[in-house]
Protein backbone atom coordinates (compact mmCIF):
# COMPACT_ATOMS: atom_id res chain seq x y z
CA UNK A 1 0.00 0.00 0.00
CA UNK A 2 2.81 2.37 0.85
CA UNK A 3 4.49 1.61 -2.49
CA UNK A 4 1.30 2.44 -4.36
CA UNK A 5 0.90 5.57 -2.27
CA UNK A 6 4.44 6.78 -2.93
CA UNK A 7 4.10 6.02 -6.66
CA UNK A 8 0.88 7.97 -6.97
CA UNK A 9 2.20 10.87 -4.90
CA UNK A 10 5.38 11.02 -7.00
CA UNK A 11 3.22 11.21 -10.12
CA UNK A 12 1.14 14.01 -8.58
CA UNK A 13 4.27 15.88 -7.45
CA UNK A 14 5.70 15.74 -10.98
CA UNK A 15 2.40 17.02 -12.30
CA UNK A 16 2.49 19.86 -9.76
CA UNK A 17 6.00 20.90 -10.79
CA UNK A 18 5.10 20.80 -14.50
CA UNK A 19 1.93 22.78 -13.95
CA UNK A 20 3.77 25.37 -11.82
CA UNK A 21 6.43 25.79 -14.52
CA UNK A 22 3.82 26.16 -17.25
CA UNK A 23 1.95 28.63 -15.03
CA UNK A 24 5.07 30.78 -14.73
CA UNK A 25 5.72 30.69 -18.48
CA UNK A 26 2.15 31.67 -19.30
CA UNK A 27 2.20 34.41 -16.66
CA UNK A 28 5.18 36.03 -18.38
CA UNK A 29 3.57 35.64 -21.80
CA UNK A 30 0.38 37.19 -20.48
CA UNK A 31 2.43 40.07 -19.07
CA UNK A 32 4.17 40.85 -22.35
CA UNK A 33 0.87 40.48 -24.25
CA UNK A 34 -0.70 43.09 -21.99
CA UNK A 35 2.33 45.38 -22.41
CA UNK A 36 1.99 45.06 -26.17
CA UNK A 37 -1.65 46.03 -25.82
CA UNK A 38 -0.71 49.03 -23.65
CA UNK A 39 1.85 50.30 -26.16
CA UNK A 40 -0.42 49.91 -29.17
CA UNK A 41 -3.34 51.49 -27.29
CA UNK A 42 -1.22 54.44 -26.19
CA UNK A 43 -0.12 55.04 -29.77
CA UNK A 44 -3.74 54.91 -30.91
CA UNK A 45 -4.84 57.11 -28.02
CA UNK A 46 -7.26 54.52 -26.62
CA UNK A 47 -7.33 55.41 -22.92
CA UNK A 48 -9.84 52.75 -21.89
CA UNK A 49 -7.81 50.02 -23.54
CA UNK A 50 -4.69 51.17 -21.69
CA UNK A 51 -6.43 51.00 -18.32
CA UNK A 52 -7.92 47.61 -19.12
CA UNK A 53 -4.45 46.30 -19.91
CA UNK A 54 -2.93 47.81 -16.77
CA UNK A 55 -5.62 46.22 -14.60
CA UNK A 56 -5.15 42.89 -16.43
CA UNK A 57 -1.41 43.12 -15.71
CA UNK A 58 -2.12 43.70 -12.02
CA UNK A 59 -4.55 40.79 -11.93
CA UNK A 60 -1.90 38.53 -13.48
CA UNK A 61 0.53 39.42 -10.69
CA UNK A 62 -2.18 38.85 -8.06
CA UNK A 63 -3.14 35.45 -9.51
CA UNK A 64 0.54 34.47 -9.64
CA UNK A 65 1.09 35.42 -6.02
CA UNK A 66 -2.09 33.60 -4.98
CA UNK A 67 -1.05 30.46 -6.87
CA UNK A 68 2.51 30.37 -5.58
CA UNK A 69 2.03 31.65 -2.04
CA UNK A 70 -1.62 31.01 -1.16
CA UNK A 71 -2.37 27.54 -2.52
CA UNK A 72 0.53 25.69 -0.82
CA UNK A 73 -0.40 27.26 2.52
CA UNK A 74 -4.07 26.29 2.11
CA UNK A 75 -3.12 22.72 1.19
CA UNK A 76 -0.69 22.44 4.10
CA UNK A 77 -3.30 23.71 6.54
CA UNK A 78 -5.99 21.38 5.28
CA UNK A 79 -3.72 18.37 5.00
CA UNK A 80 -2.64 18.77 8.60
CA UNK A 81 -6.31 18.67 9.57
CA UNK A 82 -6.97 15.45 7.64
CA UNK A 83 -6.81 12.40 9.92
CA UNK A 84 -4.15 10.15 8.39
CA UNK A 85 -3.91 6.79 10.07
CA UNK A 86 -7.04 6.36 12.15
CA UNK A 87 -7.57 2.90 13.63
CA UNK A 88 -5.20 0.10 12.84
CA UNK A 89 -4.60 -2.55 10.23
CA UNK A 90 -5.70 -2.12 6.61
CA UNK A 91 -8.06 0.75 7.42
CA UNK A 92 -5.16 2.75 8.82
CA UNK A 93 -3.09 2.20 5.68
CA UNK A 94 -6.07 3.06 3.51
CA UNK A 95 -6.62 6.22 5.55
CA UNK A 96 -3.01 7.29 5.07
CA UNK A 97 -3.22 6.62 1.33
CA UNK A 98 -6.53 8.44 1.04
CA UNK A 99 -5.39 11.51 2.95
CA UNK A 100 -2.27 11.81 0.80
CA UNK A 101 -4.22 11.40 -2.41
CA UNK A 102 -6.97 13.80 -1.36
CA UNK A 103 -4.39 16.48 -0.51
CA UNK A 104 -2.49 15.95 -3.74
CA UNK A 105 -5.56 16.01 -5.95
CA UNK A 106 -6.99 19.07 -4.21
CA UNK A 107 -3.67 20.94 -4.57
CA UNK A 108 -3.49 20.08 -8.26
CA UNK A 109 -7.08 21.13 -8.78
CA UNK A 110 -6.45 24.51 -7.15
CA UNK A 111 -3.32 25.10 -9.23
CA UNK A 112 -5.20 24.02 -12.37
CA UNK A 113 -7.92 26.57 -11.61
CA UNK A 114 -5.34 29.35 -11.23
CA UNK A 115 -3.60 28.14 -14.41
CA UNK A 116 -6.87 28.29 -16.38
CA UNK A 117 -7.45 31.80 -15.12
CA UNK A 118 -3.93 32.82 -16.15
CA UNK A 119 -4.37 31.19 -19.56
CA UNK A 120 -7.53 33.18 -20.08
CA UNK A 121 -5.70 36.40 -19.19
CA UNK A 122 -2.76 35.53 -21.46
CA UNK A 123 -4.95 35.24 -24.57
CA UNK A 124 -6.52 38.59 -23.84
CA UNK A 125 -9.69 37.31 -22.19
CA UNK A 126 -10.98 38.18 -18.76
CA UNK A 127 -8.84 36.81 -15.94
CA UNK A 128 -11.48 34.68 -14.29
CA UNK A 129 -10.13 34.95 -10.78
CA UNK A 130 -13.62 34.40 -9.37
CA UNK A 131 -13.97 30.99 -11.00
CA UNK A 132 -10.49 30.04 -9.76
CA UNK A 133 -11.55 30.98 -6.24
CA UNK A 134 -14.79 28.99 -6.60
CA UNK A 135 -12.84 25.90 -7.65
CA UNK A 136 -10.46 26.39 -4.71
CA UNK A 137 -13.47 26.65 -2.39
CA UNK A 138 -14.87 23.42 -3.78
CA UNK A 139 -11.55 21.66 -3.23
CA UNK A 140 -11.35 22.98 0.35
CA UNK A 141 -14.91 21.88 1.05
CA UNK A 142 -14.12 18.42 -0.33
CA UNK A 143 -11.08 18.13 1.94
CA UNK A 144 -13.13 19.19 4.96
CA UNK A 145 -15.78 16.59 4.11
CA UNK A 146 -13.08 13.95 3.75
CA UNK A 147 -11.68 14.99 7.11
CA UNK A 148 -15.07 14.30 8.68
CA UNK A 149 -15.84 11.15 6.71
CA UNK A 150 -12.59 9.29 7.28
CA UNK A 151 -12.88 8.86 11.08
CA UNK A 152 -16.52 7.86 10.61
CA UNK A 153 -15.57 5.24 8.04
CA UNK A 154 -12.83 3.94 10.31
CA UNK A 155 -15.27 3.72 13.21
CA UNK A 156 -17.88 1.99 11.01
CA UNK A 157 -15.46 -0.52 9.53
CA UNK A 158 -14.00 -1.30 12.90
CA UNK A 159 -11.14 0.15 14.88
CA UNK A 160 -8.81 -1.40 17.40
Amino acid sequence: MSDASSLLLTFLRDAWMALAGAFLAFALLAGIAQMLRVSSASVLGANLWVWESVSALLSIVVIGLFAFLGIPQIVNALQSSLPGGVGCGPISELGTLASGLIGGLAALRMLKAAFTSMLSASIGGASTFASALIECGEAIFGMILAGVAMPLAAWFLGTC
Binding site: R13, A22, A27, L29, L36, A107
Partner: protein, 88 residues
Protein backbone atom coordinates in the same frame (compact mmCIF):
# COMPACT_ATOMS: atom_id res chain seq x y z
CA UNK B 1 7.14 11.72 -17.05
CA UNK B 2 6.09 15.35 -17.46
CA UNK B 3 9.55 16.60 -18.45
CA UNK B 4 9.18 16.09 -22.25
CA UNK B 5 5.80 17.85 -22.20
CA UNK B 6 7.27 20.64 -20.09
CA UNK B 7 10.16 21.08 -22.53
CA UNK B 8 7.72 21.34 -25.42
CA UNK B 9 5.62 23.93 -23.58
CA UNK B 10 8.70 25.95 -22.64
CA UNK B 11 9.99 25.88 -26.22
CA UNK B 12 6.65 27.20 -27.50
CA UNK B 13 6.56 29.81 -24.73
CA UNK B 14 10.10 30.98 -25.58
CA UNK B 15 9.15 31.35 -29.24
CA UNK B 16 6.00 33.23 -28.29
CA UNK B 17 8.00 35.52 -25.98
CA UNK B 18 10.52 36.32 -28.75
CA UNK B 19 7.68 36.97 -31.20
CA UNK B 20 5.83 39.29 -28.84
CA UNK B 21 8.99 41.14 -27.83
CA UNK B 22 9.75 41.71 -31.52
CA UNK B 23 6.20 42.84 -32.17
CA UNK B 24 6.42 45.23 -29.22
CA UNK B 25 9.58 46.79 -30.68
CA UNK B 26 7.94 47.13 -34.10
CA UNK B 27 4.81 48.73 -32.63
CA UNK B 28 6.93 51.08 -30.50
CA UNK B 29 9.02 52.11 -33.52
CA UNK B 30 5.94 52.74 -35.63
CA UNK B 31 4.38 54.68 -32.78
CA UNK B 32 7.57 56.70 -32.35
CA UNK B 33 7.62 57.50 -36.07
CA UNK B 34 3.99 58.59 -35.89
CA UNK B 35 4.71 60.90 -32.97
CA UNK B 36 7.78 62.34 -34.73
CA UNK B 37 5.63 63.05 -37.80
CA UNK B 38 3.00 64.64 -35.59
CA UNK B 39 5.61 66.76 -33.82
CA UNK B 40 7.27 67.98 -37.03
CA UNK B 41 3.90 68.78 -38.59
CA UNK B 42 2.93 70.69 -35.47
CA UNK B 43 6.21 72.64 -35.55
CA UNK B 44 5.80 73.40 -39.27
CA UNK B 45 2.48 75.18 -38.91
CA UNK B 46 2.92 76.45 -35.38
CA UNK B 47 0.76 73.89 -33.56
CA UNK B 48 2.46 74.05 -30.19
CA UNK B 49 -0.11 71.80 -28.49
CA UNK B 50 0.30 69.17 -31.21
CA UNK B 51 4.08 69.26 -30.82
CA UNK B 52 3.99 69.01 -27.05
CA UNK B 53 1.50 66.11 -27.25
CA UNK B 54 3.83 64.35 -29.67
CA UNK B 55 6.81 64.83 -27.31
CA UNK B 56 4.77 63.52 -24.38
CA UNK B 57 3.67 60.56 -26.52
CA UNK B 58 7.25 59.63 -27.43
CA UNK B 59 8.37 59.86 -23.80
CA UNK B 60 5.38 57.74 -22.71
CA UNK B 61 6.13 55.15 -25.35
CA UNK B 62 9.76 54.91 -24.27
CA UNK B 63 8.66 54.51 -20.65
CA UNK B 64 6.20 51.74 -21.60
CA UNK B 65 8.82 49.82 -23.59
CA UNK B 66 11.40 50.19 -20.82
CA UNK B 67 8.79 49.05 -18.31
CA UNK B 68 8.01 45.98 -20.42
CA UNK B 69 11.62 44.96 -20.94
CA UNK B 70 12.90 45.74 -17.43
CA UNK B 71 9.91 45.14 -15.16
CA UNK B 72 8.50 41.93 -16.66
CA UNK B 73 11.72 39.87 -16.37
CA UNK B 74 12.03 41.04 -12.75
CA UNK B 75 8.44 39.95 -12.06
CA UNK B 76 9.29 36.61 -13.67
CA UNK B 77 12.33 36.20 -11.44
CA UNK B 78 10.21 37.10 -8.41
CA UNK B 79 7.53 34.55 -9.26
CA UNK B 80 10.23 31.97 -10.05
CA UNK B 81 11.72 32.47 -6.59
CA UNK B 82 8.22 31.92 -5.15
CA UNK B 83 7.63 28.76 -7.22
CA UNK B 84 6.61 26.24 -4.58
CA UNK B 85 7.50 22.60 -4.31
CA UNK B 86 4.59 20.19 -4.08
CA UNK B 87 2.90 20.79 -0.70
CA UNK B 88 1.96 17.11 -0.28
Amino acid sequence: MFDPIMEQILAIARDAWAFMAGLLIVVALLGGLYFVLQGTAGMAFGGSRMTSMAIIGVVGLVIIVLFAFLFLPQIGELLKSFQPKAPF
